[in-house]
Symmetry: none
Subunit: 414 residues, 2 copies
């Protein structure tokens, strides 16, 4: 069962506005076991609107339009929907009377243009609107369900809940869709997909979507089941199969982000952390403290941007900086060790690199980053060459550091 | 001239995600005099996608699709667009070679699934993508312009600017819309609007939009003119009038963000900075180093999350922490002074607060933050009570610190 959502209104096509109705409807429909195949925002133009209704009715089982039901000349939804279904509009005497009463109750006489709000598509049922003047409409035609709802969210939402959801529940038998999110850090989308596609392509009843950003991949698994427990069991089995194809790489199945996973591991292991950052300049510490409770594991952090600060605060020997350069493996190692010792904690991490866009050389190009660990999560060093601009390089450097901490704390080798 | 925007990706039809590309494209198209007639978001489904392309090509002069150009099995945009235009896909040897080189430059062998990114619709021009592996495509067919762009905004935006906008400018011959962005930090939207609305309401030929986020307000001024110089002169006069109504508060007219403005001021004044952060835990240092050249002014930073680190690294007397609490004016002052002295630099800044969601008390509720400066930007202390969650509180704390630095360095009193 597939739905399409049509948002009507030229004002929704300006850069400042976004259509919150569609997000609400997407969430409600998904709970009802209805997938949204497409979401369309259309200007107040009769030809465009009719074409959008035709296209939607041609490919979806359920079409829900919001907006364009008011009294003004650019409220064209009724006409366009009627034209697209080949039906006429019929003025409903009962609705008209209630409209007139509504105006009278505010002590006003109804202006004639309001009467169009009493026009129903031939054969449509009215969905009464207690919070506004334009009622909703619901039409079953050619096996499709066409629903027109007013645009203001405080009118649209109660009409959907009272007039549409119960009918959809009947139609679908309401098998809700469940989702499990798997997260993977510091691998590329193509590497992940090459390893996992052969697995998830074989899934039956589980749909998989891959979302990628630099340094982070998410796999969204969707399934339905006779019960929630059954759907979740199916999702967990699918996740197990993916995990087996990429052992030790899926860092979270429960919605937690990588800094939270690392923070929880540090707390579990009773290990406190000190960070030493050069090119990332505090970004790692800031990410590790994005959530409450970080004082249980982060003791302190050093932003050692200058060479002098690396030597004074972390004891990185000036000769090593001189001989190897500030961006080098030995300096990253000395930073990690220096941070751990200076703070008197169990784990130290050091990051140094060329974030760019300036400062690159043939030997040390922009994007080159060294990350080192010292102490209870192992003494390891990674050299990475990241693509992309400054922001991406810095973010990916912190992802690498976090993934090294996670694997080190769990004792997973490369 | 009417455009339609197609966003491709099932993940964009989940309630959690919204399509920021469409907002960007709507704004750029508007500047080029092109109206957006419809905006469509489509799931990764071959039939739906082809139908959406057909519908869009049937009613718009320009169709721009974003997303679905990657290497995975659910990247279907190329196939669907080709099918909708009745054309074949042709693998481009030059693109394929560059793809392989790109992987080689990261020291990796290209997985075979990446090769589909070298497929062009017959007759389409490639738009080279310097920031990613999938190139854009541009096809003139039956008087329509069809454009395929990658989904990640950092890839899509430069491709639109370099490969699409110039061609649209030729086609439309439109009088472009010019925009000036004014930025204001650490004031509320209602305060700003109360002072500025009486001024901008009188503007003729200049449209004003206010965009607000916690700790930051942007005023977008839009004008057209016979020439770019004329439009810009009109915008600058309008900005002067707004500046006069809110003296010293508009920190940028040239697109620079607050950290960049503060960084440039520090360099101009020859003042080096050391940061000491507790609740923001490196976020201020990370923001100050978001752009290249930060080593000219940032000497070092301290993330003093524990009380012990405040005492050991910054010399904050343990008795003051004991007597006043770690979140207090005297501790913020001692942090700023301690950072400045320890680093041997001209300016120190200290931030301590309750970021929440836990840790609040009746005397020191969540959102309470103290920010102090020491040295060449003045010795000042601010106490602020921020609304909102942890992320908002932390961001606003850094905005306050940056705005204090800016005003201190410029010698503007409160």
């Amino acid at each position: 069962m597939r739905a399409e959502i049509l948002a009507v209104g030229s004002e929704l096509l300006t850069p400042q506005r976004s259509d919150t109705n569609a997000l609400y409807l997407t969430e409600r429909l998904r709970e009802l076991g209805v997938e949204v195949g497409a979401r369309v925002t259309v200007a107040d133009d009769p030809g465009l609107l009719e074409s959008a209704f035709r296209a939607a009715l041609g490919r979806a089982d359920i079409v829900i339009a919001t907006g364009g039901l008011g009294p003004t000349a650019d409220d064209l939804t009724r006409e366009a929907a009627a034209a697209a279904t080949g039906r006429k509009l019929v003025r409903d005497a009962g609705i008209l009377e209630r409209l007139e009463q509504r105006f009278a109750s505010f002590g006003r006489v109804m202006a004639p243009n309001n009467a169009q709000q009493a026009d129903l598509i031939e054969g449509a049922l009215e969905i009464e609107n207690p919070n506004g003047s334009a009622p909703g409409q619901l039409l079953e035609a050619d096996g499709r369900l066409l629903v027109l709802l007013p645009g203001p969210p405080r009118e649209m939402k109660p009409l959907f809940a009272s007039g549409v959801a119960p009918r959809l529940r009947e139609r679908t038998g309401a098998v809700p869709l469940h989702t499990l999110v798997l997260r993977i850090a510091a691998l590329s989308e193509s590497d992940v997909d090459a390893r996992l596609a052969p697995v998830y392509r074989e899934f039956e009843g589980v749909a998989t979507t891959i979302l990628s950003q630099p340094g982070q991949i998410e796999l969204h698994l969707h399934a339905r089941g006779a019960s929630e427990a059954e759907a979740l069991a199916t999702l967990e089995r699918s996740a197990d199969a993916l995990e087996a194809a990429l052992p030790g790489r899926i860092y979270s199945r429960d919605g937690r982000d990588l800094p939270a996973v690392v923070g929880d591991l540090l707390v579990e292991r009773g290990a406190r952390l000190a960070t030493a950052e050069s090119c990332t300049a505090g970004l790692l510490a800031a990410r590790l403290t994005d959530f409450a409770g970080a004082s249980r594991f982060l003791e302190r952090g050093f932003v050692t941007y200058s060479n002098r600060s690396k030597t004074e605060l972390l004891g990185v020997p000036a000769e090593i900086i001189e001989a190897e350069g500030a961006v080098s493996g030995p300096v990253a190692r000395a930073m990690a060790e220096g941070a751990r010792r200076a703070a008197g904690v169990e784990v130290g991490v050091g990051i140094t690199g060329v974030a760019g866009p300036d400062g690159g050389t043939p030997e040390k190009p922009v994007g080159l980053v060294f990350v080192a660990l010292s102490g209870a999560a192992g003494d390891t060093l990674r050299r990475r060459q990241f693509p992309g601009g400054r922001e991406r390089v810095r973010f990916q450097a912190t992802q690498t550091a976090l993934e090294m901490l996670r694997r080190g704390l769990l004792g997973i080798s490369e």
